[in-house]
């Protein structure tokens, strides 16, 4: 369909908040429905721009899997800036503006028949969840699914029930760790996420890595991944956070050296960003 004369990529479409689930003290899951009734038609790893009018617009990775026949989709948000705080203040039934989906996605077809190692640091589970849930929906098409989750402290864990349900499944292997326990009740692993890596045995010839976390995590995990278990770096995919504003590669805010993270990313194959000094 050719866009009409009045089309502009800068105009958001209305969507309605239909569900809010508190995931931790700071993080909430938001389910929206597009008012035009259409599916968002995203691919795992892509992001959208969400507007709260009067406050502004901010980019969020889509956390739900692509679903045909529904106009609903989910994001999970930490209340840390002006737009995210305004989102947390919204009641069910409130409206937001949506632009996108934008950017690159995890190459789902490439993962078919292979094992997938998910590495989620901090809030990294949120963008990975779209791919993970897609794979679970089409479980028979994929090999082993291993999920490593690292969180700063037990109270900051998100999607706790969902992850516990996953760990009870026989076809998903889940390992979790926290950086420090504090005064919480926690009997699981303690240590940064790299301490989980020696505990998993991978079929390195047959495994893809999908990894999302804070900037500091990538260097350590990629070092460990490549070093000990030797997963070829062209099978490691990461999603990079930047300050996407326009979403179409014009405004310059999300540049990583010569590329725009909003167009060439947010999902990158590690070998594609390895030469970029500003990437990791």
């Amino acid at each position: 369909m050719t866009p009409g004369k009045e089309f502009t990529p800068y105009a958001p479409r209305p969507a309605t908040l239909v569900r809010k689930v508190r995931l931790s003290d700071f993080v909430t899951l938001f389910e929206f429905e597009q008012d035009d009734g259409r599916p968002l038609a995203h691919k795992p790893g892509q992001f959208i721009q969400v507007s709260v009018y009067g406050v502004g617009e901010a980019p969020f990775s889509i956390s739900s899997r692509p679903k045909a026949g529904t106009n609903s989709f989910e994001i999970a948000v930490r209340n840390i800036g002006t737009v995210t705080n305004a989102l947390h203040d919204l009641a069910v039934g409130a409206k937001v503006g949506i632009r996108g989906p934008f950017g690159s996605c995890f190459p789902v077809q490439e993962f078919v028949g292979k094992d997938t190692l998910f590495v989620a640091g901090g809030l990294g589970y949120i963008p990975l969840r779209s791919l993970l849930r897609y794979q679970l929906r089409h479980r028979e098409e994929f090999g082993r699914i291993l999920l490593l989750i690292g969180t700063r402290s037990p109270s900051e864990r998100i999607f706790v029930d969902e992850i516990e349900a996953l760990s009870r499944r026989s076809d998903v292997e889940v390992m979790e760790t926290v950086d420090c326990v504090g005064d919480a009740c926690w009997e699981g692993n303690v240590g940064v996420i790299t301490t989980l890596l020696p505990k998993v045995r991978l079929d390195v010839e047959n495994t893809y890595v999908a990894m999302v976390g804070p900037p500091v995590m990538y260097r350590f995990v990629i070092g460990a991944c490549v070093g000990d278990q030797c997963i070829p770096p062209d099978r490691i995919y990461v999603s990079l956070e930047r300050k996407m504003k326009c979403g179409i590669g014009k405004c310059g805010h999300c540049q990583i050296n010569g590329i725009s993270a909003c167009v060439s990313g947010p999902v990158f194959r590690y070998t594609d960003i390895e030469p970029l000094k500003e990437a990791l």
Binding site: E6, F7, T8, P9, Y10, A11, P12, R13, P14, A15, D35, S51, Y53, G54, G56, E57, A58, R78, I80, G81, V83, T84, K95, V96, G97, P214, P215, E241, R242, K243, K245, C246, I248, G249, K250, C251, G252, H253, Q255, I256, N257, G258, V263, K277, E278
Partner: protein
């Protein structure tokens, strides 16, 4: 390419006619030694021999603040806003033409920027050959001393009261002939224009890059850890003046506000600057270019390599505006590029 000879006496009539159709902007002297583009009025004195305007022309194509969207806070309906005045930019030097041609390409790349496109479509450009070269200019050695595309008419002053005018587009030719017959240029005028350009080029060539500009991305690729980044950026005030006056800088921020009823509002873009500290900072405080050095280097890599990799020419046209505007005297693409050439060629 057809060409005409225009006499000074024909200009008032032409300008009056153009001003009826377009908002006409011309170069004027604003203070001794300082020039800028200003709206043409019947008594405006055009600075035919200006060397460089303080501001580039990007503000007429990508305004400092431009509304993009109006929205309703109750229904959350939003629609695009397009402001595209009919305008005529008269007297644009070739290096500024080159800058506009770059914006044209970058705004079309991938998902086209429709606000820019509409504004550009309604803009007529009459180029003008420079008669003087600004002290900091080095456009000639960047290949930006002459533009072959991107103009409707190209004017060259070939005598005290005579111009050689080359036609770039049918729209330009129509505007030139709108007030009545204009004399076709003969061999003598062609020759006079060539001599004028040659004379300017000779003077401009004396100051500039010490190497062919085509080598720039190759040199930059080796220069990530060059000492000059720390040396220069240690004095950077992070004021963004270099971005502001740069004809090829186009980064923008998105802002919005509600009207007094809080029921409606508008979102606009406004110029932003990669040299400002918070340019690459995300919510939570992480800054992907937190140091002066990171930001200073980024700007030169955009000019010397990133833009080049996209469109095949440097993102710097050698106008020298940033050199003049920098209060800390560190913005200097010529000095930086020449130094990198010496160290890394």
């Amino acid at each position: 390419m057809s060409a005409y000879t225009v006499h000074q006496g024909q200009l008032p009539g032409l300008f009056r006619l153009w001003a009826k159709l377009y908002k006409v902007h011309v170069p004027v002297q604003t203070a001794p030694g300082f020039y800028d583009f200003a709206p043409w009025e019947p008594d405006t004195e055009i600075a035919w021999d200006y060397d460089l305007t303080v501001n580039p022309l990007k503000r007429h194509l990508l305004p400092p603040r431009e509304d993009l969207v109006v929205f309703d806070t109750r229904t959350y309906e939003a629609r695009g806003v397009f402001q595209a005045p009919q305008q005529l930019l008269f007297g644009v030097h070739p290096y500024d033409l080159r800058a506009i041609a770059q914006l044209d390409q970058l705004m079309e790349l991938g998902s086209p920027d429709r606000n820019y496109r509409r504004r550009r479509e309604n803009t007529v450009i009459f180029a003008l050959d420079p008669l003087r070269v600004a002290p900091d200019a080095f456009w000639s050695t960047l290949g930006a001393g002459r533009a072959d595309i991107g103009f409707d008419l190209y004017w060259t002053k070939i005598g005290p009261a005579m111009f050689f005018v080359e036609v770039g587009t049918a729209r330009g030719e129509e505007l030139l002939l709108a007030a009545g017959e204009v004399e076709r240029a003969g061999a003598a005028q062609h020759e006079a224009a060539r001599r004028t350009r040659e004379d300017t080029r000779r003077r401009a060539d004396g100051h500039g890059l010490k190497f062919p500009w085509q080598e720039l991305p190759r040199v930059m690729a080796k220069a990530w850890d060059a000492g000059i980044w720390r040396e220069k950026s240690s004095m950077c005030l992070a004021c963004g003046s270099c971005n502001l006056v740069c004809p090829t800088c186009y980064c923008f921020d998105m802002r919005e506000e509600l009207d007094e009823s809080l029921g409606k509002g508008r979102r606009w873009r406004q110029w932003d600057a990669c040299m400002l500290p918070a340019f690459a900072q995300v919510a939570g405080g992480h800054n992907f270019r937190g140091k002066h050095l990171d930001r200073y280097r980024h700007r030169y890599f955009r000019k010397g390599k990133y833009i080049f990799d996209l469109i095949g020419e440097p993102g710097c046209v050698g106008c020298g505006r940033c050199i003049k505007a920098c209060t800390a005297r560190i913005a200097n693409p010529l000095a930086v590029f020449n130094r990198l050439w010496e160290e890394y060629a």
